[in-house]
């Protein structure tokens, strides 16, 4: 018995000892020395300031096995990729986890620059020609570079593009393939190997042309044609059926499913990386394409918005006035031999970063504040913050009185103190948003939309809001008043009546539950209070995310809700959301003037003019307030500054979500 007691005691001591050792506050290591063996020569990499004699404790075994700087760029991902098949990847499996791994595998004629989201050529040799009418068609000619090659050495040609477009149009693929929009695009013709001619049967706007077809992926015809041909034949057999019949849909879906299941093994890459291996549930790896045609491409960005691209061979391309201050300058890689994406959960990923197991954490929503806090004291880890490319908003149902009244919406907007909400309540976990285009999308962002009650105190807000309502004819049994006692609070309005004399009905505000998103839940609870202060009876219903979707988009009964959108680079979503009777216009906002502005915007083909129109649209929406934009979240990224450096870290939506870890630009610390 005695011996057993000792045994237990000893066991306890061991446990306590382990805990003690583990919990000791981290000693701040000024210098981190990582010794890596490469070809027999030990290379000592030091971070600031200078190496000390003391060797730091051995990191985990995983770091040792890295071949050396520039060998492997190790990214922690939170979820596995789901498919290797490009057809599926651009439709049902479109996710950051897939794009991060091989998003750069398929070339496009043009694209957005990684850093500033400028419209730049991909495999195109120069700007596309202006759209011209040619017979029944609107045509545009795109010159392609003759030095671009697939990883198997064959050139990337206009044939590839034409074939890709034709296949998508024939099978009427959905998802991101919709960029080859059959409502506009008729076909693409390969005039010669390096000249493509686009034929539209309807005049396309920016969204369909520049931000559509011109940016769509181009697949390798030689590889895919034999595999896809039988499916096209199958489709041809059913093409004559009634396209709205269930039978046709089922058959078409079966064909599409086969397409999505085609084995892509051996598909040549048209980008900087080619697929190397995928260990399901554990990691995936891509390796650098040595012959990548853009390797060494030097990009110079000027403060005035101009841009210059210079290839090692002497080729150059650019726009704007390429003079004055250079705001950024970077050279495209890839600089690593391969990229390994290892799957961790969010917490383990951070531990892995701290332990030197990974160089970067790729998250769709950025790191959380606690995680940033955790690594902030770690000199070996750097962090960067960028606003997310999206916004959280509150929407109104125009079929519910009095929410159809602009005065009510503006009064509510007036009551919502976004600064208080984001800085105090959400304690900096959110950034206020005032217009539908996120600030990070600098080309399209309108910084001067009208604001109500911006910067006012709670008292002034209330008084101004009440004033707005009164002007619109609303009355109360007991008007909401500011009460100086108790440090200043509001005596809620009671018995509010609409201009026609009927009482304001009970409202419900749907918001995601705190478990799903504490930010929106908290915002919901506070907005509920603010609305109630005005005398509009409102109850916040914090509920399951899917229930909100069902109620709102499933044609259910709702008054107001809080959700969020992640948005695309081209701001035509503003019109998609609010065009009369548009599918996403669930609030039934209807404004002929707005529709007209959208019509113009949709049809615009000139970037400059489109920008002016977009600004007007943003102003209208900020005044009419079918949505009240609340806030967006900051995207935090963290990386191991002992192993990797980025040429720039300010990028819309963050390095991870916006730049997929900047695989083409990241460099090893030398």
């Amino acid at each position: 018995m005695l011996s057993k007691k000792w045994l237990v005691l000893a066991g306890l001591l061991v446990v306590v000892g382990i805990l003690f050792t583990a919990c000791q506050p981290k000693t701040v290591v000024e210098t981190v020395v990582v010794t890596v063996e490469k070809e027999g020569t030990p290379i000592v990499i030091t971070a600031t300031p200078a190496p000390t004699e003391e060797a730091t404790p051995e990191p985990t075994g995983e770091t040792e096995k890295v071949g050396g700087p520039g060998d492997v760029y190790r990214i922690a991902v939170l979820s596995d990729m789901t498919t290797q098949n490009v057809w599926a990847a651009y439709d049902p499996d479109a996710s950051i986890w897939n794009y991060a791994v091989y998003g750069s595998k398929w070339p496009s004629a043009y694209g957005l620059s990684t850093h500033r989201w400028d419209f730049v050529p991909g495999i195109a040799a120069d700007n596309p020609s202006d759209l011209e009418q040619e017979g029944d068609f609107w045509v545009c000619t795109v010159p392609l570079r003759d030095d671009v090659k697939w990883s198997d050495g064959t050139p990337i040609t206009a044939e590839d593009w034409a074939w890709t477009a034709q296949t998508v149009l024939t099978l009427d693929l959905s998802g991101n393939w919709e960029a080859y929009d059959g409502d506009y695009l008729d076909h693409i013709e390969a005039v010669d190997a390096h000249t493509a001619k686009l034929y539209y049967h309807t005049k396309p706007g920016l969204a369909r042309h520049q931000y559509g077809v011109l940016m769509s992926p181009i697949l390798n015809k030689a590889f895919w044609e034999p595999k896809v041909a039988p499916l096209l034949d199958e489709y041809a057999a059913i093409a004559d059926m009634d396209h709205d019949s269930d039978d046709f849909q089922a058959k078409r879906e079966a064909i599409v499913q086969k397409l999505y299941q085609l084995d892509p093994t051996g598909e040549p890459s048209g980008g900087a990386w080619q697929f190397s291996q995928w260990e399901k549930g554990a990691y995936s790896e891509i390796s650098a394409v040595d012959s990548y045609y853009d390797k060494g491409l030097k990009v110079t960005e000027y403060a005035n918005g101009a841009l210059k691209e210079a290839w090692p061979g002497g080729r150059e391309w650019g726009f704007g006035d390429q003079s004055g201050d250079v705001s950024a300058e970077y050279t495209e890689g890839p600089w690593f031999n391969s990229v390994v994406f290892s799957i961790y959960n969010a917490d383990a990923a951070l531990l892995a970063l701290e332990a030197g197991e990974v160089d970067f954490i790729l998250t769709p929503n950025g790191l959380s504040r606690g995680q940033v806090d955790q690594v902030s004291g770690n000199p070996g880890i750097s962090t960067a913050q960028n606003p997310a490319n999206g916004f959280r908003y509150m929407a109104f149902n125009f079929n519910v009185k009095p929410l159809d009244d602009i005065a009510v919406r503006q009064a509510i907007d007036c009551m919502i103190d976004k600064t208080f909400l984001t800085q105090n309540l959400l304690q900096g976990a959110a950034i206020p948003v005032n217009t539908i285009v996120p600030e990070g999308n600098s080309y399209w962002y309108n910084p001067n939309v009208p604001l109500f009650c911006d910067g006012l105190s709670a008292k002034d807000r209330l008084e101004k809001a009440v004033g707005m309502l009164k002007d619109a004819g609303y009355t109360w049994d007991k008007e909401p008043t500011w009460n100086e006692s108790r440090g200043g609070s509001v005596d809620w309005g009671e018995g509010m009546k609409m201009p026609d004399g009927s009482p304001v009905p009970q409202m419900e505000l749907l918001a995601p539950s705190a478990g799903y998103d504490p930010l929106r839940a908290t915002a919901g609870v506070y907005i509920e209070q603010w609305i109630n202060q005005l005398g509009i009876p409102c109850k916040a219903n914090l509920t399951n995310f899917n229930n909100i979707l069902d109620a709102v988009f499933g044609g259910g009964d709702w008054d107001m809700y809080i959700l969020g959108w992640g948005v695309s680079a081209f701001p035509d979503y503003a019109c998609d959301f609010f065009y009369t009777d548009a599918g996403f216009n669930v609030g039934h906002y209807s404004n002929p003037t707005f529709d007209k502005m959208c019509d113009e915007f949709y049809a615009e083909t000139d970037m400059e003019k489109a920008r002016d129109e977009s600004f007007k649209i943003q102003e209208t929406l900020a005044t009419e307030l079918p949505y009240i934009y609340l806030f967006t979240t900051p995207m935090w990224d963290a990386w191991d500054n002992n192993t990797v450096i980025y040429p720039f870290t300010d990028i819309n939506d963050g390095i991870g979500s916006g730049g997929y870890g900047l695989q083409n630009y990241v460099q090893a610390v030398q």
């Binding site: 499996d93 879906e253 229930n547």
Partner: protein, 391 residues
């Protein structure tokens, strides 16, 4: 015994039918469907959502869907995952089942051995420091908030002490360089190794059983010695065999990654087995044959291990096997924290993504596994308890 097993088999098939129906009812009654996800993407027009609904047959009458589900279940066609469209569910399950099985079989065995031994000792030490100490520690661990506990285990043993890896089930940096010749393309390397590890374990176990069968008639001390030697030899051969093949280091890598989850699962789970063993032991100790054994002059240790524990083993063992499916579903927590891509994690992800076919497939699998466990429990019980074996 054959009749007994057949009878149980019949009952189990009925239970399976009820279970499947229940699943279908639950999952059909839920609000929303997969196409909800399309709602949040402004790039997808509502017509596309409608088209998808049609194509997936979500607008069909419930009974038609029910019939289809059943037909599919019987033919092993669990449909196509929505979240990994169009990967067949069965393929996803095939990929993840071995990982879950390896981890949880190992964890269950360790947990059982620890819990049973502790419980056995506890029953013998009523009152006093040892009993109250282990009960309190055991129950605390049993009720500790598992996600946090698991994370702290990683934090302490992985991040701070650097003894063990930080989750996952393999080291990418090591695996990426290894090519396994002759491996079929459809398989991942990990599953190739996993399957072989499972087979080795099964083979070793079967050989051990055969050995145990042939040594059953030896006298007690001799039998123990022989079995110990044989066990060591079997272990040595299997480990030695693995050490010699090329994929040995990979298996070792997986094993290293398994230690922490297993320790965690054992710590949070052993108390259940321990307390149950203690209870059944206390009940068994009141049996007359325990007095007989003592009267025969058996030392207490033998009375405990050979007579009391052997009988207490029956309910504890069946309890354990029956709890196996819940261990796997409880593994959702462990798998999530340890980034272990098994069934639990699959279920959680599928659920949050409303990937109904995958949810159904996973639950069906857990159901089938649970029923198999029941069957195994019944058969094992029959083997352990001669009263059933010979009636």
């Amino acid at each position: 015994m054959g009749k007994y097993i057949l009878q149980r088999l019949g009952q189990i098939l009925v239970t399976l039918f009820v279970f499947q129906t229940l699943l279908f009812v639950i999952l059909t009654a839920m609000p929303g469907d997969v196409t909800n996800r399309m709602l949040t993407n402004p790039d997808i027009p509502p017509e596309v959502r409608e088209r998808t609904r049609q194509a997936l047959g979500l607008d069909d009458p419930v009974l038609v869907q029910y019939g289809r589900w059943f037909q599919n279940f019987i033919t092993g066609n669990l449909g196509v995952s929505y979240s990994e469209y169009p990967t067949p569910v069965i393929e996803i399950l095939e990929e993840r089942i071995p990982r879950t099985m390896v981890l949880f079989l190992a964890a269950t065995i360790v947990q059982f051995v620890v819990g049973f031994s502790m419980g056995r000792a506890l029953a013998w030490q009523r009152g006093g420091f040892f009993e109250y100490g282990s009960t309190i520690v055991g129950v605390t661990l049993y009720t500790v908030f598992t996600p946090w506990f698991a994370l702290m285990m990683i934090f302490i043993f992985g991040a701070r002490l650097h003894w063990l890896p930080l989750g996952k089930f393999l080291t990418p940096i090591l695996w990426r360089k290894v090519d396994i010749p002759g491996m079929s393309d459809s398989l991942t390397k990990a599953n190739y190794v996993f399957t072989r590890m499972l087979w080795t374990a099964t083979a070793a176990f079967v050989i051990w059983l055969i050995m145990a069968y042939f040594t059953r008639n030896l006298s007690h001390t001799k039998r123990n010695r022989t079995r110990l030697i044989a066990t060591v030899i079997i272990l040595a051969v299997s480990i030695g065999g693995w050490a010699m093949v090329d994929i040995g280091p990979l298996a070792w890598d997986i094993t290293k990654h398994m230690i922490l989850p297993i320790v965690t699962l054992t710590l949070v789970g052993f108390a259940g087995t321990m307390l149950m063993t203690r209870q059944t032991m206390l009940e068994t100790l009141r049996e007359d044959y325990i007095q007989t054994a003592r009267a025969k002059g058996l030392p207490e240790k033998l009375v405990r291990d050979k007579h009391a524990a052997r009988n207490a083993l029956l309910p504890v063992f069946t309890g354990l096997i029956i709890s196996l499916p819940s261990v796997i579903s409880g593994g959702i927590i462990t798998e999530t924290v340890f980034s272990w891509p098994g069934m639990g994690l699959t279920l959680l992800n599928a659920t949050t993504q409303e990937d109904i076919p995958l949810v159904m497939g996973t639950l069906s699998f857990i159901g089938v596994l649970s029923l198999l466990a029941h069957l195994v429990a019944d058969i094992t019980y029959a083997f352990l308890d001669p009263r059933i074996r010979y009636s």
